[in-house]
Symmetry: C2
Subunit: 556 residues, 2 copies
Amino acid sequence: MSTNEQLSVFALGGLNEIGKNMYAIQYGEEIVVIDCGNKFPDESLLGIDLIIPDVSYLVENKEKVRALIVTHGHEDHIGGIPFFLKKLNVPVYATQFTLGLIELKLKEHKILRESELIAIDSNSSLTFNNLRVNFFRVNHSIPDCLGTVFYTPEGAVVHTGDFKFDLTPVNKQYADIHKMAKIGEGGVLLLISESTNAERPGLTPSEKQVGEHVYEAFQKAKRKVIISTFASNINRVQQVVEASRLTNRKLVLLGRSMVNVVQVAMNRGYLDVPEGMIIESDQIEQFPPEQIAILCTGSQGEPNAALSRLSSGNFRGVEILPEDTVILAAGPIPGNERNVTRIVDNLYSIGANVIYGSGSTTGMHVSGHGSQEDLKLMLTLMKPKYFIPVHGEYRMLHHHQMLAESVGVEPGNTFIMNNGDVVDIQNGIARQTRSIPAGNTYVDGIGVGDVGDIVLRDRKQLSEDGLLIIILTMGKRDGSLLSPPDTITRGFVYAKDNEELLKEVNQLVTKTVNEQREGNRNDWGRIKRQVKKSVGQYLFAQTKRKPMILPIIIEF
Amino acid sequence: MSTNEQLSVFALGGLNEIGKNMYAIQYGEEIVVIDCGNKFPDESLLGIDLIIPDVSYLVENKEKVRALIVTHGHEDHIGGIPFFLKKLNVPVYATQFTLGLIELKLKEHKILRESELIAIDSNSSLTFNNLRVNFFRVNHSIPDCLGTVFYTPEGAVVHTGDFKFDLTPVNKQYADIHKMAKIGEGGVLLLISESTNAERPGLTPSEKQVGEHVYEAFQKAKRKVIISTFASNINRVQQVVEASRLTNRKLVLLGRSMVNVVQVAMNRGYLDVPEGMIIESDQIEQFPPEQIAILCTGSQGEPNAALSRLSSGNFRGVEILPEDTVILAAGPIPGNERNVTRIVDNLYSIGANVIYGSGSTTGMHVSGHGSQEDLKLMLTLMKPKYFIPVHGEYRMLHHHQMLAESVGVEPGNTFIMNNGDVVDIQNGIARQTRSIPAGNTYVDGIGVGDVGDIVLRDRKQLSEDGLLIIILTMGKRDGSLLSPPDTITRGFVYAKDNEELLKEVNQLVTKTVNEQREGNRNDWGRIKRQVKKSVGQYLFAQTKRKPMILPIIIEF
């Protein structure tokens, strides 16, 4: 081991945010990447579809990057993979179910054939020059999730992936608690653990609880049942299948991602569906309503997904009728609450019985992320020397630090970092003193990375106060106005109702142009700036609005 | 009583929404209006500041409108008053505290002097031709709230205003439970009751609970305390004053609405503040931090309010320092969660202790609206024959109907209505068969009502995919293109990075124009439509984006 080599750990996404997770463990000249997710924009990012991590640093160091390990198949862990592989085609290691979801994405991006995908499970072991990687099973709201442990010359680094402790897991998918205990006993130098629910006291309830409530609701439902949940939550889907079986219902799948993901799960042995239970939507009429259950997408209120379209009567061939039971079996992700309540309102006005919310007596949802007692248990099992909380906004990372210190991590040994910050460990001592480039890359339509701040700023101004175009035809020879200015407005005021205002604007423009000409003939730039300034001031005084003002000069 | 006269009840706002409450009771030729509020737009209403009820129907019937009764001083009950009075200057009846808040608004709009404002209390009685109006005190998250009872020839109509039952109210502001019972005993034909928390089981806790938690937090705080809440929640402010007194802290008020509303409350006897407790922000340094409490606005994370600016270090003269305690004593109104968590993150990274959330052990907030047991108690006290749930989105109205039926209101006697629907009662029988015009009026900057659907739709397109302007100079005589087209983009792509794309667009435009000319010389409209179509299709195929395309033809 060269005395210059050290262990370095950094994130390119997932710190101070929920989404676009991407972590890296580096020893010497080897980097192994963990996860590559995406993030969905909030309303201020107008017209942007997706945000992915800026991977420039890895591209510049491409010869060092050995592998991409993927902990599980959620979008915020796999959504960036197609874009990443197009820049750096590294081997991808993931469990069977996770690979199935990744393959769906790579097919969409037409790069499946060139990609190197290697199936692993909790018994796999990967060896690189200085890094040996083992795995352990964890519970989460999707099947087949792994935590990783990196054995490095400095010591063991554990990355939990996303997890909770579910002691009564569906389909007997027990977590590897004994293995986790052994890893901890062997000494853990650094633990990297997810912080999503670090603000929530107690334990996160078991998925089994949802299954019981779903079954009760299926029993009570007098007509057909429509239940929406995340397609990737195959354990919940299994419980829907079970409830359908026990109440003698056929099952219809609605929504492209539901159909696709269920297919992957069935093919790879993660979902057990009785023969003949699944029927097509055009067969619904062949059965009485109390023998029908519909499993659909759209639990987040997404306007184009199945549930929203069903709730507004826009789903061809399938109708929600009065006395049908609709179950929203997923908690609204923060930001989606209004979309969800809009659908609930629609469903009530159709006359359906609606079950939603996650109260513990009727709750149709439990989180996939560990609450405080789960997180403390993980910290206790691993007993790390150093701790990096990840996968959370600042207050979640902060709370996770406090939990760590409450179970014995020394104060000063927890690093709350930003994306790009690097923790270096050498001779057993960890420091965070440097950073590498990190940031957001925006995906908009087909374009990746070409919507920058200027474009976003323009969209924002256009969205708030609209646009005023002023067309000036100027003589090339003498810089004079050849005809009165023309104005075109969009998104500002309705022109027909505001003729007076726009007439005043034209007069002001003419005056401004003539004043400018006296000093500086043909200085179009100066003329445009002055027009923008004087018209902008005038409009704000009259209307308190600030539309984008675009003077256009056509010279003849 | 003319055999043609009947009792009519309708809403112009507040049904199928939270906000812009405006209700009306009509008997014969007399209308009394209850409340006139505003609503804040969601993100889809780009650039709109406020939404108020469309009052055209009342303006058309102005000679019938006798009075505006205001139940309490929240924005969603008073925010539309200045705009309404400018169209219809009717007398306004409200309690002293409510009037104080209304006067602040009327001053801003410069119409205070022309307005007729009459102070009432729970013992007042108003008499019109066929309507006699009495009042009763209710508890809410603002002082001095009233319910109303209208005695009409058909029978008694009760409007609850916003309410909960707080049996340990701050400042001994007990609700008139005995009076409510008497009103019910006398027979209530119709109850109009608010539905905000109709989905929540149980009782809403007392405001006193918040006071206890606030006091505990003040005691534990080692340095200064910064606490944010709604200025109008004077009862909560009183408890902050009390906690400051008990922990020997001076009190600083930050934020214009906090200063104004506290002033109104103190002047009119609703807030009791020990002499000398309130100091200015520039006096903070004269006291050790443990003797300072700061009460500020911004509990909803509003970017321009005090708390947000403090959390980003942008409040001149006042700083939040490590170990300061920050308390968010207000629940986030749905839609504001992200603004609030952003501030919490900032505060944690400053190193402050942050207390937020409404869990019952540490909760710094209780709702002002009654939960299911409170609503059932009101229904039981009033024992109405007919019931109209108001002040809620559909699912809340629906749940309230179920509560009413569970305590004895006959099925079929509850009306779930839309704004504009009218319930007519004649000879004791109620029917909902007709509607009057109702809707939204948008306030944007100074303009009221001039931002219609077309302007909003344009802003939406501009915000999502931006704008492409194509300038065509055409010969008047022969309709030919006099020079190559010019393109200007805003908010679409960054032109310098996309020269190839824009060059292709220019060539496509030239081709389209020349094709069109062959058929139809100088048909500018047709040429523009074809250019929009062909360029739109091309851009979508290339970029999957749909910018607004504006061809502009200058003819010479």
